[in-house]
């Protein structure tokens, strides 16, 4: 029993000791925190007294020869509101003129006092920066970090015990933050808000991906390097940012990117090491960190607005794809993934305009798709590493998106506009097809006139012209994907015939006309109007014509097959799906 009493007393002593440390540290942080101070009330805009002062001294020359201004100046204490306003406006114009004349040739004129500058002057720390008591970034953030650690204590066992694997990673993170360097005289610095968010990311990643801490040394190296490099890059971007809005964007994006990097690292480097075979531990970590800083660096292209593009989920998927691509193709993206940011930005830029016409939320998904589908075969799909915008999958989608975004023509029978989810489903199928057969976008002819866009456009036009309003968008997407796949298997289907029609589009038109057209047999329309039946019929026909039949005669033979099938259904002759393929083959094999 005495042992139990010892244990209890030890626990209490330890807790008190630790609690005292926590309390002291927290109090120090709160004392050091910045506060924003209000100014007293005062006449904060130029007034008649301002104008009078100016024209009495520095602006006296403007009174000469200007009778109206002279009158305003002389009567300044008796002016009505409108005259007073005029007097002040004259002053502001003359003051600005003086400032412009006094500025050395070629120099920039002083701008107005921005909210940013105003805010910075009125936000005050307890101690002078660089002084003995000047708090570091870690010290400034420590208050919240302690609170966060207490909140997560039960969810991440051992997080505050530096002997445990989790604790080692937490310590590595804190060390990285403590080492962030600030340039001499830098006026804008990383906020504690970012550090708080990064810390939460570390704890959540440890909670959700315990495998990260299992290899303690690699995990420690990963957390320390990625946190250090990312915050370092963020600080540089913050120093270069033109205003507070841009600085906030850097911090927000870094906060979203960091957990994506950690989880992607857990899902790729740790969980699937075969993809990173040949890379040592340090090289793996450098790659992850390099990809992260490269993507963060792409924020410098402010017009692109990458930070507003991605949700956490899409960014995570994109990061994972880029990591795999960079590991597999260092010759294209650099040994440390330096080209990753440019690739992501280039793909987003290439697709941005058309994707945004179709619908919000589509662009990040398309960027993710392009990066994911192309990761393994980047050497084929990215012929010139200096021109990431020429990623073949991005080019393929660029050819198709305008077709999908176009409004239905006047007189179209099938009018629904394709939405983001339709475009995404189709894009996925198309990219799979292009990965299987890059000839879609690589040959000379495709470069001049994008065949993929042409085929999709022609098939969509056939659907618009021949399908009835009952055709669902999901079926249309499935038919478009099947048509492209058929062309992928047999080029002639995508080539225009003597009448200027793409064979595959003409066949699709015939199918939907038979099912949805004005003269369609009721019984057949009833059967094939079921979505799965229409899709099955289309797939069957496209599969068969991809293998057999003289191109010039395909349309007539498919139509004959359709007529016979419909006749059987109309007459009530028993039939099975299995019989349709042989029947179609018979028609395709007919001579004449």
């Amino acid at each position: 029993m005495p042992a139990s009493a010892d244990v209890v007393l030890f626990a209490i002593r330890s807790a008190i000791r630790v609690n005292e440390q926590v309390r002291r540290g927290f109090a120090g942080m709160v004392s050091a925190e910045e506060i924003h101070l209000p100014l007293p009330s005062f006449p904060s805009s130029p007034s008649v007294e301002t104008a009078r002062t100016y024209y009495e001294a520095d602006g006296a020359q403007y009174l000469e020869g200007d009778a109206k201004l002279r009158t305003l100046f002389d009567r300044w204490q008796q002016l009505g509101e409108a005259e007073a306003l005029e007097f002040v406006r004259c002053y502001q114009e003359h003051w600005a003129l003086d400032a412009a004349n006094a500025a050395p040739a070629g120099s920039v004129l002083a701008a107005d006092l921005t909210w940013d500058d105003y805010r910075a002057l009125l936000t005050v720390r307890q101690w002078q920066r660089g002084g003995d008591k000047s708090p570091s970034l870690l010290q400034r953030a420590a208050g919240t970090l302690i609170e966060i650690a207490v909140d997560y204590h039960l969810q991440v066992p051992g997080a505050v015990n530096t002997a445990s694997p989790n604790g080692k990673l937490v310590k590595a993170f804190l060390e990285a933050i403590d080492e962030v360097q600030f340039a001499e005289g830098s006026q804008h610095m990383l906020g504690t808000r970012l550090v708080d968010a990064l810390f939460v990311s570390v704890l959540e990643t440890l909670r959700d991906h315990p495998e990260l801490a299992a290899d303690s040394e690699r995990g420690r190296l990963l957390v320390k390097t990625v946190a250090g490099d990312l915050t370092g890059k963020a600080q540089k971007l913050i120093e270069a940012a033109p205003d507070q809005l841009a600085r906030d964007r850097v911090q927000d994006f870094a906060a979203t990117l960091f957990p994506s990097l950690l989880t992607s690292a857990a899902a790729t480097v740790v969980a699937d090491p075969r993809r990173f075979i040949g890379l040592g531990r340090q090289a793996q970590v450098d790659l992850i960190s390099g990809v992260g800083t490269a993507i963060l660096g792409s924020l410098q292209d402010r017009k692109l607005g990458l930070e507003t593009l991605f949700s956490r989920e899409t960014l995570e998927a994109a990061v994972r794809a880029v990591l795999v691509a960079a590991a597999r193709h260092p010759q294209l993206l650099g040994a440390k993934g330096e080209g990753a940011g440019k690739l992501v930005a280039a793909v987003a830029k290439e697709l941005g305009d058309d994707a945004n016409v179709i619908g919000p939320g589509l662009l990040p998904e398309l960027v993710r798709l392009v990066l994911e589908k192309g990761a393994e075969n980047l050497d084929i799909l990215l012929p010139d590493k200096n021109q990431p915008e020429r990623h073949l999958l991005a080019r393929a989608l660029k050819a198709v998106l305008p077709v999908l975004a176009a409004k239905p023509p006047a007189g179209a029978k099938w009018k629904p506009a394709l939405r983001s989810e339709d475009a995404l489903a189709l894009a996925e199928a198309l990219l799979d097809e292009v990965v299987r057969n890059p000839q879609w976008v690589t040959d000379e002819a495709a470069a001049k006139s994008p065949r993929l866009g042409e085929v999709v456009g022609a098939v969509l036009a056939a659907l618009r012209n021949e399908a009835g309003p009952r055709l669902r968008r999901e079926s249309a997407v499935a038919i478009l994907a099947a048509a492209v796949e058929a062309v992928g298997r047999r080029l002639e289907l995508g080539v225009k015939d003597a009448q200027g029609r793409h064979v595959v589009a003409a066949v699709v038109g015939a199918i939907v006309k038979t099912v949805h057209g004005d003269g369609a047999a009721l019984e057949a329309a009833w059967l094939f109007a079921r979505e799965e039946a229409l899709q099955r019929l289309t797939q069957l026909i496209l599969d068969e014509i991809a293998q057999a039949g003289e191109p010039a005669k395909l349309l007539g033979r498919v139509q004959a097959f359709l007529d016979e099938a419909v006749e059987r259904i109309r007459k009530g002759t028993p039939w099975w799906w299995d019989e349709l393929a042989p029947l179609l083959r018979e028609h395709l094999a007919k001579g004449g």
Binding site: I16, R23, S31, P46
Partner: protein, 279 residues
């Protein structure tokens, strides 16, 4: 045996730590919340003022002179939180060297709420070691000066226009400027609070610039004190530019936009030559 002992002690330690950590730092958490609430309220007020900066009409008509708060909720919440905290946890705050910070938040909140007497009274309470919180100590020393500027500003906007009113304003402004200079002298030369104290002094001088006219003085009675105020503006502007360039190392050309902001507000030409720093 040793391992078994450790296994049993760890949950106890964790439980005790969690139990203690909640109750031991509550007053610090509350103060932090109050501090953040106050900062948000101040930022909202300053943002509104900044939006009015370029609006000439406001200054001419005097509408901006009253400084009425659009929303004082944040200040009220911060004042109440710190009031309760000081009443109930004074000893803990003192032990953690946070009493001055609590007084600053309360005094400044009361000031912005227009409860001037209480604000000044709060600022005069002893709060311990002066070196522990240089910013807070300096701020507590200038609360009555800030109140003086507010009162003077309200006076120049009221309907009563007289020499006596002007004299009251002049006295208050002179006292405020002396207080600011005193607080400034107690700070390290590169301390960030100096930027705020400069801004407060410019605000006081701006009231001094317009007061003679707004109180109905004419001729030399109006121009002499205005000229005197402007001479102080010149000195202050030079000192401010030196602080920006030599202490904050804002060495860019053109100078920091706040320099041209204050120069425009007072009707002074933009300074051309860069200030020199002592070696």
């Amino acid at each position: 045996m040793k391992n078994s002992w450790r296994r049993r002690s760890l949950p106890l330690c964790a439980a005790a730590l969690l139990a203690l950590s909640g109750c031991g730092i509550d007053h610090i958490r509350t103060l932090r919340e109050a501090e953040q609430t106050f900062s948000r309220a101040a930022e909202q007020e300053n943002r509104l003022r900044h939006a009015q900066l370029a609006d000439t009409g406001q200054g001419v008509s005097g509408a901006a002179l009253t400084g009425d708060l659009a929303d004082s909720t944040g200040y009220r919440v911060a004042a109440e939180m710190t009031g309760k905290l000081i009443r109930e946890k004074r000893a803990e705050l003192e032990q953690d060297k946070l009493l001055c910070t609590a007084y600053v938040i309360r005094a400044f909140s009361l000031w912005r709420l227009g409860e001037f007497a209480q604000a000044v009274e709060t600022s005069r309470q002893p709060c311990g070691d002066a070196s522990a919180a240089p910013r807070d100590r300096a701020l507590l020393r200038v609360v009555d000066a800030l109140v003086g500027i507010d009162e003077s500003n309200a006076r120049i906007a009221n309907k009563e226009r007289s020499e006596a009113e002007y004299q009251t304003t002049k006295t208050q402004i002179d006292q405020a400027l002396a207080k600011f200079a005193d607080a400034d002298a107690g700070l390290a030369r590169g301390h960030p609070l100096r930027a705020y104290l400069f801004a407060a002094r410019f605000a006081a001088l701006r009231v001094a610039q317009v007061a003679p006219n707004r109180e109905g003085l004419t001729g030399t009675a109006e121009s002499a004190p205005r000229t005197e105020a402007l001479a102080r503006v010149d000195e202050m502007l030079l000192e401010y530019r030196r602080y920006l360039r030599c202490q904050l190392r804002l060495t860019g050309i053109p100078e920091h936009t706040s320099v041209s902001h204050w120069a425009t507000l007072f009707g002074k030409k933009l300074p051309v030559n860069a200030v020199a720093c002592d070696s």
